[in-house]
């Protein structure tokens, strides 16, 4: 196996360890397992960074183009933000119980879709906007995933009491934090869409074409726009929004990686028929 692939599967393996530590930690109410979960996530993150660096240095082409690269970057951003958040606040230790399984499954899935690195970058992608675009997309995904994780903690704390749950911040604080991450995700998705519009305008002279990837990104954005209005204008709080954040996350994963790439779109390579 190539060193790149070895690193990749080591990362997946360690995220797997992290996933099971978090889940069993929650079931067995063993906080030590959360510590194990956190540190195996950190340990998995290092080879994860290594994979991206290796792919990048192999060709000099930013490795965020194919679907598996896109998922690899999305999970990279998720684990990065998760780790920063966990090491800066100690209060939400079980947060990984949603974040890490999602990262584990997605990265494993990316592994099965992996192709050789492209040797050239399609001309249309040779633009600085690609950076703004992919950072917005991946960090937006990371934010709403963490928000959903907080939603799950909210629901768990509401149902259970004692021990581990006592140590969590109170419900209103979890709810508020989840809302913060949703707002952040909403802005980042906005950044992704606006930069995509600019980029498309530069390449094709139109900023919006209702192509499937554009529509799916609008779907995710509207979904969270509706969340914000339910909260601000209609005063929803707590349980309902926690469920909303969880369900919206599923929609997000499907729309983000499941569907757009299975159809011919502007994003699936750029047509130049002439060779």
């Amino acid at each position: 196996m190539k060193p790149e692939l070895q690193l990749f599967w080591i990362a997946v393996g360690l995220y797997g360890v992290s996933t099971f530590s978090y889940i069993f930690g929650l079931i067995a109410r063993q906080e030590k397992l959360f510590t194990l979960g956190l540190f195996s996530a950190l340990a998995g993150f290092l080879p994860h960074v290594g994979v991206i660096a290796l792919r990048w240095s192999a060709t000099g082409i930013s490795p965020f183009i194919s679907i598996s690269e896109s998922i690899t970057l999305g999970t990279f951003m998720t684990v990065l933000i998760f780790l920063i958040f966990q090491f800066s606040t100690k209060k939400l230790r079980p947060l990984g119980v949603l974040v890490m399984p999602v990262a584990f499954v997605l990265l494993g899935w990316a592994g099965t879709l992996m192709k050789d690195v492209a040797s050239t970058l399609a001309p249309a992608l040779q633009s600085g906007w690609i950076w703004v675009h992919i950072v917005g997309a991946s960090a937006g995904f990371a934010s709403v995933l963490i928000a959903a994780g907080l939603g799950l903690l909210y629901l768990l704390k509401e149902k259970n009491s004692g021990g581990l749950y006592e140590k969590l911040p109170d419900l209103a604080a979890i709810d508020d934090l989840s809302y913060r991450f949703i707002s952040g995700g909403f802005i980042l998705y906005g950044l992704m869409i606006v930069s995509g519009c600019f980029w498309s305008n530069q390449v094709k002279g139109n900023y919006w074409n209702w192509d499937p990837v554009e529509v799916w990104s609008l779907v995710s954005w509207l979904t969270y726009g509706i969340y914000l209005h339910l909260r601000i204008t209609f005063g929803w709080r707590g349980r309902k929004l926690a469920w909303y954040a969880l369900i919206a996350l599923v929609a997000m994963i499907v729309s983000y990686w499941g569907i757009p790439f299975s159809v011919e779109t502007f994003h699936s390579g750029f047509r130049i028929e002439h060779t």
């Binding site: 709810d175 606006v194 519009c197 139109n206 799916w216 609008l218 779907v219 569907i259 159809v263």
Partner: protein, 386 residues
């Protein structure tokens, strides 16, 4: 459990009842009823959810062009979008009216204002835009302001062709164009305008040419053969460039031939030669087999058919069929035919979109508005905690 208990960070200066109701009412009775309808937060939710549902159906139930016809291009869908913006205008601004301007509300105002200005930009654009496809062979110039220069075009009600002055010229097409080590594949050297007011430049996929607000983008390119038809004494009857389509073969390679585009596929076909409005003499099927050794050389393939009185090809009475190197004559019954040289043709998209100057900056301002609101909230959260 779900009683609205605003978290500390959300406490407005005044206590609110949910849903927040408009505070500004213009007049009473009927206008008031219409206003209340347009300004209701419930309408906003219904519209947002409806749009969401339409978007989802437009990428699942219907796909591609069909989705455009059924949903995104349909009048009813666009009416919903317009209604949404009117709703934003009434609902949001009715509510925010008279409220103290804080960082939070300022950001929100910017943000919702941008929705309105995006719509205005889109409407303005739809009245004045022009989008066309112009196809040129190297060395060819076409009058920019003549609708016949375009393969196809669409325009806003108030667009005037007099805006497109002078000529559009394709000077040269550069295959395998590289810039700063990046392979741009194809670049077109073009000039537009008239007299001293001309813009000249190279366009490739991430680089357009602009001339007085009109943008030129590269779209597609192909080969074109200069074909000369003579009688069998060698007297020239007609000469002209014949653009060829690239037809993808099963093995992934391309065949270059006369033909036409049928949706996504290209079909091989004959053309009338000379092409109308001149009086056609034969039906010609032309192909080009490029040489791997030298650019713009190789062989031309010919098939010639006679025409009946209505200029319909008589396919069962083929005059001749064969192949000859570029620059060499080919004898075909009473005619001689010559593919004299190979050039490129290119198709460029020509766009005049004046509304974009409103829409695109609005998007950024809107994004900034969202950030300002969020920063405002974070700051307020901090202050509360201290």
């Amino acid at each position: 459990m779900d009683t609205p208990t605003p978290s500390p960070a959300d406490n407005q200066p005044e206590q609110e009842a949910y849903p927040v109701e408009p505070r500004y009412h213009p007049i009473h009775k009927i206008p008031r009823k219409i206003y209340d309808f347009l300004a209701s937060a419930r309408l906003a939710m219904v519209l947002l959810v409806t749009i969401l549902a339409c978007c989802i159906s437009g990428v699942t139930l219907w796909r591609g062009a069909e989705a455009g016809r059924m949903v995104f291009g349909a009048l009813w869908f666009n009416s919903i979008l317009v209604l949404l913006v009117v709703n934003i205008a009434c609902c949001f601004f009715g509510r925010i009216w008279g409220r103290r301007v804080t960082l939070i509300s300022f950001g929100m105002i910017l943000f919702h204002l941008c929705f309105v200005s995006v719509l205005l930009g889109v409407v303005y654009n739809s009245l004045f835009y022009f989008r066309g496809i112009i196809r040129l062979t190297e060395g060819e110039a076409l009058p920019s302001g003549d609708p016949r220069s375009y393969d196809s075009y669409e325009q806003g009600r108030f667009f005037s062709f007099s805006r497109l002055k002078g000529e559009t010229t394709l000077i040269k097409m550069h295959a395998g164009f590289k810039i700063g080590g990046e392979d741009k594949r194809a670049a077109y050297e073009v000039a537009v305008g008239e007299g001293g007011d001309r813009s000249k430049g190279i366009i490739y996929i991430t680089h357009k040419l602009s001339h007085h607000g009109v943008d030129y983008f590269n779209d597609r390119e192909g080969y074109s053969l200069l074909v000369i038809l003579s009688d069998n004494q060698g007297r020239e009857l007609y000469g002209g460039h014949v653009p060829l389509q690239s037809i993808r073969q099963k093995n992934g390679s391309f065949k270059y031939s006369t033909g036409y585009r049928d949706g996504e596929t290209v079909k091989q076909d004959v053309i009338l030669f000379p092409p109308p409005p001149d009086k056609p003499l034969v039906a010609l099927q032309l192909g080009y087999i490029l040489s791997k050794l030298k650019e713009r050389s190789g062989d031309a393939e010919f098939a010639l058919f006679p025409l009946d009185l209505n200029d319909k090809p008589l396919f069962n009475m083929k005059i001749a069929e064969g192949k000859s190197p570029i620059g060499n004559k080919f004898a075909a019954g009473n005619y001689q035919i010559l593919a004299k040289e190979v050039r490129y043709w290119v198709g460029m998209t020509v766009r005049y979109e004046p509304g974009n100057a409103i829409v695109l900056p609005s998007l950024w301002v809107g994004l900034a508005g969202m950030m300002i609101t969020t920063i405002g909230r974070i700051l307020r959260g901090r202050r509360k905690r201290i």
